[in-house]
C-alpha cells in the first residue's frame, strides 16, 4: 500500500519537476538532469534514514534533527560539493542563485512541505482546541506576539542595514520565531502520560492557534516582502489589505472546508476504495495550495486548510494511515533539502547574533505563553511547563525560512540562523519539559485542581504479555463496537486514543499492564467494557480447557514433521 502511495506522489511530482526543468533548462539534456535528480534522491533517501537512526537511537533526539543534519553533511556546502569521478561533477553542485539546490530538488521539497502541512492539518485536534479555546487562544496569541516582537526587535537592534520593524529581514526573523512544532512535545507528553493533563491540552490547543497565526503572519510577511522586492512602497494601508486578504482567504476557505468536508467525504465514499479517496483528498490539498499561491499567499496555507477541514470527518484517521507512505518518503527529503541550504561560511560573522536571537526566541515562547497561562489558573510551575512545551520548532520554521530565502527576503546567513534556532530549541526542549513535569500540580486555581482530581485511571495487571495483548485488542474492538474511533498515537509504543463526541479515553499497554485514563464521568463505561472483556477471556480459557486433549492434538500436528514421507 505504501509503495502505491509513493508511486502516486512520484507520478504527481515528476511531470511537474520535468516541466519546470524543461522550461528553465531547455539547453540541457533532460536525461542527464533526471539522472542527477534520481541519484540525488537515492543518496538523500539513504542518508536521512542513516542519520535519523543515529539521532533517535544513539543521541536520543528527534529523527527530524538527524534528517536536517544529513542535509548539512551531504549538501552543496559540505560533502556534496566534491566532484564525483563517474559523474564528472559534484552530486550536489552549488547553484549560483538564491537557492543553492537545483529547481527540481527544491520542487520536490515544496511538494513535501504541502504534504507535511496537509497532514499537520489532518492531525489537528479541533474539538480539544474548541474545548480549551479560551486558554489555548491566550497562550497561543501570547507566545506569537512576544516572540514575533522580540525576533523583529533583535533584527532592528543588532543587524546592520535593518532600521525598520517593517523591513523584510526583520519581519521574517519575527515570523521565524513564532512557529511552534508541537510534534516533539506531543510525543514526550504521551510518553509521560501527560497528554490529557491541563498543561497537555493547553499546549495542544495553543499550538493549533499558533500554527494558524504563524501561517497568517507568513502570508502577510510574504506579501510585504513582495511589494518591497518589486520596489513598491510599504505603507500601513497596503499591509492592512494584505492582512485582510490573508485572513479572509484563511477564514472563508476554512469555514467552507469544515462545512463541506463532511459532504465531500460522503460523496468520495462512492469510490469504495480508501486508497482512491486518499489520492483525491491529497489532490484537493495540492489544488488549494496552488490557489493560495495564486492569491498571493503561501502554498502551505491551502494545504493546511484542506487537512484541517478533513480532520473533522470520520475518514481522518484512515487518510492519515493511507498517506503515511507518502509522508515517510517525502517529508525526510524536505528536512534534508532544508539542511542542504545551510551555508556554514555565511554563519561565521553572525554566530553571536544567532545565539542572542535563539535566546530571545526561547524567552519569547516561555514568557509569552507562560504569562497568559499564569493568569488562567496555572501556577509558576504549570506556566513554565506550558512555555517549555511550546518551544520546539519544526516544519513551519523551515518552510518560512525556505520561502524567505527563495523570495530573496533573507540571505543564507539568516537562513542558517533559523536552522540554528530550530536545532537548539528542539534539543533543549525535551529535557526541559521532562524535568518541568516532575513534582506536583501545575495548577493554582482550586476549581481547576478539583477538575484535575476528577480524573479516573483504571490499572490492571495480567499474568503474561500474551493475555495482555489479547485483552488490549478486545478492549479496543469493544470500543469500536460502541462506535468509538480508536487511533494509535505512537508507533513505537502501545498508546491509543479512544474518542467519541466529547468522550476521550487514553489506553496504554506496558508489558503485562493496561491503563485506561479518562474523566471520572466515563468511569462506568471504561469499567463495564473492561469487565465484559475479562469475562470473554475467562470464557476463552474455559474453552481451551475443554479442548479434547491438547497434547494429543500437538502430537498429531507435529507427527511426521521430521519423519520420512511414506510412498
Amino acid at each position: 500500500m505504501y509503495r502505491r502511495c509513493v508511486f502516486m506522489v512520484l507520478f504527481l511530482v515528476l511531470p511537474v519537476v520535468s516541466a519546470s526543468a524543461s522550461g528553465q533548462e531547455s539547453g540541457r539534456d533532460m536525461g542527464h538532469l533526471m539522472t542527477i535528480l534520481v541519484l540525488q534522491l537515492a543518496v538523500i533517501v539513504i542518508a536521512v534514514r542513516f542519520f535519523g537512526l543515529i539521532f533517535s537511537r544513539y543521541l536520543k533526539q528527534s529523527k527530524v534533527l538527524g534528517e536536517l543534519v544529513a542535509g548539512m553533511v551531504i549538501g552543496p556546502y559540505a560533502l556534496g560539493s566534491f566532484s564525483l569521478p563517474f559523474l564528472n561533477q559534484p552530486l550536489f553542485p552549488r547553484i549560483e542563485s538564491v537557492l543553492p539546490v537545483s529547481t527540481e530538488l527544491y520542487g520536490l521539497a515544496v511538494v513535501a512541505s504541502i504534504v507535511l502541512l496537509f497532514l499537520a492539518g489532518l492531525e489537528t485536534d479541533l474539538p480539544t482546541f474548541l474545548k480549551f479555546s479560551r486558554i489555548g487562544s491566550l497562550v497561543g496569541i501570547g507566545g506569537v506576539i512576544l516572540s514575533f516582537f522580540l525576533g523583529d526587535m533583535i533584527a532592528v537592534l543588532l543587524l546592520p542595514g535593518v532600521d525598520s520593524f517593517m523591513s523584510p529581514v526583520a519581519l521574517f526573523l519575527g515570523t521565524l520565531s513564532t512557529a511552534t512544532s508541537v510534534g516533539i512535545t506531543a510525543r514526550i507528553l504521551s510518553e509521560k502520560r501527560k497528554l490529557s493533563s491541563p498543561e497537555g491540552v493547553t499546549i495542544l490547543a495553543g499550538a493549533v492557534l499558533d500554527d494558524v497565526l504563524g501561517i497568517i503572519i507568513l502570508a502577510v510577511v510574504v506579501g510585504i516582502s513582495k511589494i518591497g522586492a518589486s520596489g513598491g512602497e510599504i505603507y500601513w494601508g497596503k499591509i492592512g489589505i494584505i492582512a485582510l486578504k490573508a485572513f479572509g482567504f484563511w477564514l472563508i476557505c476554512t469555514v467552507l472546508g469544515i462545512l463541506f468536508a463532511k459532504k465531500i467525504s460522503k460523496k468520495l465514499k462512492w469510490f469504495k476504495s480508501n486508497e482512491a479517496i486518499a489520492g483525491v483528498v491529497l489532490g484537493l490539498a495540492l489544488f488549494l495550495a496552488g490557489l493560495a499561491e495564486m492569491a498571493g499567499l503561501a502554498m502551505i496555507i491551502g494545504a493546511y486548510i484542506v487537512g484541517l477541514s478533513f480532520s473533522q470527518t470520520d475518514m481522518a484517521n484512515e487518510l492519515q494511515e493511507r498517506l503515511q507512505g507518502v509522508y515517510q518518503f517525502l517529508v525526510p527529503v524536505f528536512f534534508c533539502v532544508m539542511g542542504m541550504m545551510v551555508n556554514f561560511s555565511a554563519l561565521k560573522g553572525i554566530i553571536v547574533f544567532g545565539i542572542i536571537y535563539t535566546a530571545c526566541a526561547i524567552l519569547g515562547k516561555i514568557v509569552g505563553c507562560g504569562i497568559p497561562a499564569y493568569f488562567s489558573g496555572f501556577n509558576l510551575k504549570g506556566s513554565f511547563r506550558i512555555g517549555a512545551g511550546m518551544l520546539p520548532r519544526g516544519e513551519v520554521t523551515l518552510i518560512v525560512a525556505g520561502i524567505g530565502l527563495s523570495a530573496g527576503a533573507i540571505g543564507q546567513d539568516m537562513f542558517g540562523i533559523a536552522i540554528m534556532t530550530l536545532l537548539i530549541a528542539s534539543i533543549i526542549a525535551p529535557p526541559l519539559l521532562i524535568k518541568s513535569f516532575e513534582g506536583g500540580t501545575g495548577l493554582r486555581d482550586k476549581k481547576l485542581i478539583k477538575e484535575e482530581e476528577k480524573g479516573f485511571c483504571l490499572k490492571i495487571k495480567f499474568p503474561s504479555v500474551y493475555i495482555t495483548d489479547f485483552i488490549r485488542s478486545r478492549i479496543l474492538q469493544a470500543f469500536q463496537n460502541e462506535d468509538f474511533f480508536v487511533h494509535r498515537l505512537n508507533l513505537d509504543r502501545l498508546i491509543y486514543h479512544i474518542k467519541k463526541e466529547n468522550i476521550c479515553i487514553t489506553l496504554v499497554q506496558e508489558n503485562k499492564g493496561i491503563e485506561l485514563t479518562t474523566d471520572s464521568d466515563n468511569k462506568q463505561l471504561a469499567n463495564l467494557i473492561v469487565a465484559e472483556e475479562i469475562l470473554e477471556l475467562k470464557d476463552l480459557l474455559e474453552g481451551v480447557e475443554k479442548l479434547e486433549s491438547p497434547d494429543g492434538m500437538w502430537e498429531k500436528l507435529t507427527a511426521g514433521l521430521f519423519g520420512e514421507e511414506k510412498e
Partner: protein, 149 residues
C-alpha cells in the same frame, strides 16, 4: 447520550411492578414483556443470550441494581427495558443485597452501537441515592423518564 436515552426510554419499556420473585423468572418476565410490546420477536434466542451471560458472571451490581444483558442477532437494534420490584429478589449481587432495579439491554451481535454506553449512562445516573429513591417511588412511567432525561 442523553438524546439517545430520550429516544430509547418510552412508556412501553418501563415496567413499574414486576411479579416474578427469582432471578430466572425476573429475566423471563422482562423478556416476555418486551415480546408482548413487539420489541422482541425471537423469545428463545434472547433468553438464551441473557442466561448465557448470567452464567459467566451474575449481573447483580451494588445498591439493588442489576443489569441483565445479552447479545444476539435476533434483534437488529438495541432493545432496552427498565423495571423495578420493590420487595427485591436475590440476583447474586456483588454486595449480597437483594436487587430492586433492573436495567436490561439486548443488542445485536453483528452491529455496532452505543450498547454498553447505554448501560454505563444509566448506571451513572442510578449511582445517586436520590435518583434511586425517586425511581423506586415513581408512580408513573413519565416520572421515570424524567429521572433519566
Amino acid at each position: 447520550m442523553r438524546k439517545k436515552l430520550k429516544k430509547l426510554l418510552t412508556n412501553d419499556n418501563i415496567f413499574l411492578e414486576l411479579e416474578a420473585d427469582s432471578k430466572e423468572t425476573i429475566i423471563e418476565e422482562l423478556i416476555d414483556r418486551l415480546v408482548g410490546c413487539g420489541k422482541i420477536k425471537n423469545r428463545e434466542a434472547v433468553m438464551k443470550a441473557v442466561l448465557e451471560r448470567e452464567k459467566k458472571m451474575s449481573t447483580g451490581m451494588e445498591n439493588g441494581i442489576a443489569i441483565p444483558h445479552g447479545k444476539t442477532d435476533s434483534v437488529n437494534q438495541l432493545v432496552v427495558a427498565i423495571a423495578r420490584k420493590k420487595e427485591g429478589v436475590d440476583f447474586n449481587s456483588i454486595d449480597k443485597q437483594s436487587s430492586t432495579i433492573f436495567v436490561m439491554t439486548i443488542s445485536p451481535l453483528s452491529r455496532s452501537g452505543p450498547h454498553l454506553q447505554f448501560l454505563a449512562e444509566v448506571s451513572k445516573l442510578l449511582k445517586d441515592s436520590r435518583a434511586r429513591e425517586k425511581f423506586l417511588t415513581a408512580k408513573t412511567t413519565e416520572e421515570v423518564i424524567k429521572i433519566f432525561i
